[in-house]
Symmetry: C3
Subunit: 315 residues, 3 copies
């Protein structure tokens, strides 16, 4: 595996999912595969699950880990080409990426969108320039528009916990106080639409995701109807793609409640976390037996380890 920045970097999803579930049984079976290999984990934004689970996964494989808060601990990065750098940025991404590539065998990178300029965000500039200039495999730790480690985790989790051969999986928009990226729902849609599931997205009008990631996916604007017979409810807020970065509604009627969960076929409740309680989802759902959010977060480690294993095998 050269890079892992989207679904398209995966040759064989089925194999990768099986590999992750094998790793889960014995995370230390390959504890020398990464000896004398270094992964740099670069953060331009906050991270809890991704940071800890990827560090853990790399250490399970014997890798050395360098975590680095690129902007805070290093230099402010310029991404525009051909620019006269007489402003606040001290270092161009061309040099930053290439230099980090000198020290790291794999580079993980987290870079959120600004949510003001859709064209810029959807070019996914920072991660793509790292791919272009670093000369090393790039592992997305969530880019401006995609979060493939989360989506691989989600596919694994559904595979692990499903009780039907073809479960119904519903991605439901939910309200939030702040404007959030589309990375998780974009990725979730891209991955889930290729998995052995009946996949439905429900959201208020105006919250349509880029059709680059939702082609062929059923959109159901009636949340109650979408929940009927569902086996997995995946809640997530996102800001509008069409009216880019805007909050069109905070309608609390879209919050995931016990009442709504009662419409499903005893669905498991999923969320990528962090989640705002009683805004996105009611306490009674999150604290119920059917909530698998912690189990799901735990699987982040094995998803990351499966991907790193593939990368290391190719070295």
């Amino acid at each position: 595996m050269q890079n892992f920045i989207s679904f398209h970097d995966v040759d064989d999803l089925d194999f990768l999912v099986k590999s992750a579930l094998e790793i889960k049984k014995n995370p230390y079976a390959n504890s020398t595969l990464g000896i004398n290999k270094t992964i740099g984990l670069l953060f331009l934004n906050p991270s809890l699950r991704t940071r800890l689970s990827t560090q853990k996964a790399a250490q399970n494989l014997g890798m050395n880990v360098i975590t680095f808060n690129l902007n805070n601990e290093g230099w402010a990065i310029e991404v525009n080409e051909g620019i006269v750098m007489d402003g606040t940025s001290s270092e161009h991404i061309k040099e930053a990426a290439a230099v980090i590539g000198q020290y790291c065998d794999v580079i993980g990178l987290r870079s959120f969108p600004g949510l003001t300029d859709r064209e810029y965000d959807y070019a996914d500039t920072i991660i793509n320039k790292f791919v272009q200039y670093a000369g090393r495999p790039i592992l997305s730790l969530e880019s401006a528009i995609l979060h493939p480690l989360q989506s691989l985790t989600d596919v694994i989790t559904v595979e692990e916990l499903k009780t039907k051969s073809r479960p119904k999986v519903v991605l439901s928009w939910a309200p939030h106080t702040r404007a959030l990226p589309q990375a998780v729902p974009n990725s979730f849609s891209e991955w889930m639409s290729k998995a052995e599931v009946d996949f439905v997205i429900t959201h208020p009008k105006g919250y349509e995701l880029s059709n680059e990631f939702t082609q062929g996916v059923k959109i159901e604007y009636d949340q109650d109807k979408a929940f009927e017979g569902a086996d997995f409810i995946y809640a997530k807020n996102w800001s509008s793609f069409r009216e880019y970065g805007k909050i069109l509604t905070k309608d609390p009627a879209w919050m995931i409640t016990e009442q709504k969960m009662a419409l499903t076929d005893s669905a498991k409740f999923m969320h990528c976390l962090p989640v705002r309680r009683n805004v996105v989802v009611a306490d009674e759902v999150l604290d119920s037996e059917n909530s698998i959010v912690i189990h799901q977060a735990g699987n982040r480690e094995f998803a990351a380890q499966a991907v790193l294993t593939e990368m290391l095998k190719g070295m």
Copy 2:
């Protein structure tokens, strides 16, 4: 040892002290005990000694270490239950603790008090919620009200350097420019009152600690009298417990000087550090031969390692 958040988590203090002094002779004797075990060191506040010594201790045992500045590098944490999270906090401590517990075999946590709401601080909410929700052993790296790794270090240091079978140990309040927590004196009193020492606390009126931690301890309001015949002077500032979080006096007459040390039986000078020179203690005391503050700080490593050894043995 399940958790290490107070004196009450210790079964056998004598054994733990002896174990730390054994470890000090050969810190690498157990360098494979922690293989394939991960400790997360979570900081909500600054730390030098605790951060470095605990990381060192864990690495001496072969553990993987993940350090994480929870609020700066992760998400702002909500601790109230049942709340509608429409404010500045992005993640509830229920999820944060449980998720970190998925990746870490031991969780170290530092969380200082706000010093405005005594009831809230003394509930020691953050560390207790980690105990409740993380599902993993919790190691206090100083909580709102206790600092047991420091106190274990202090017991070890007195044991190591005492020249009498039952030395006189004096905890002396000293002035400071800022309002400081009661965690160190609370813990010191809790631990020292169970050690084989004559223990006295001296402080200005109004600085009485919570009697939860000072039961049976002799309080002497006359600092000079308290110092008479002392073998160890342990200086520390704290803010008032009674008038919670307030500075009642900055009286420089309470600073530890050569003159005051002359009242003792050539006492060793101790402080947990960091210490403000010529406010808490005069240069000539801190720089004297009887000052053991650096030696004491060095023992932090072995105290932490003794505790981690017990935790790992139980896994």
Copy 3:
């Protein structure tokens, strides 16, 4: 090697350069030399290359690495002696250094100058107090006035890529938007003047470096003339030493361009990075085949590893 804070700590430059180039061929040949040794990497300022390359080098040798942002993650440090610490500083450097020395076998430290008080900066107070109080070998990660790991790298890189037995090396001042330290040019001059090269410095009048570091070095105020026949052009901005910390000119005529490089003998272009594109150097130079800045940055790892190897051998 006791410390590595300036050229004067090197016994045998030739040996150190050869050692680094040997290490480059097989960085893992000595991967157990540093077992059970800990290096603390302390940062008071931003760092990318130094942070990552030194961490990598230490890990190549089997060392444990503790990175620590001293002021942000620890306590604000006081450096003045005899002071009453009733201000914003919480901990004196005497204690900080000595305590860190309890946990670390080697201490790396980065501390930039304030560029307002020349006498203070050139006393190189912070690193010298660490040397005085830590009781451990100190590795400069760039001090107020010197950056020896960079200069060792630069000597290695010239040695590795030269095509003549005695190449001409030109250090050229270049414009910049901000006032920068003199550490890199000071060190470069100190080291390069002892190497087997013809060494010339070119800069506008008023930018003379401290003659402590430029004794016997040819200064050529005409940049074009300096470039004639050059084999290596090393660009770097610095603020004035004479009018301390001031920017005397931002004259764009001093920017390194293709036209200027055409005056040389197909010189390689070097810079320590980070570099501001089209301010210090034109894109077409930095992106040309003769630009070796990434290769040079890559050598930082082997320079650091050669130094750490010497330090570890002496333990």
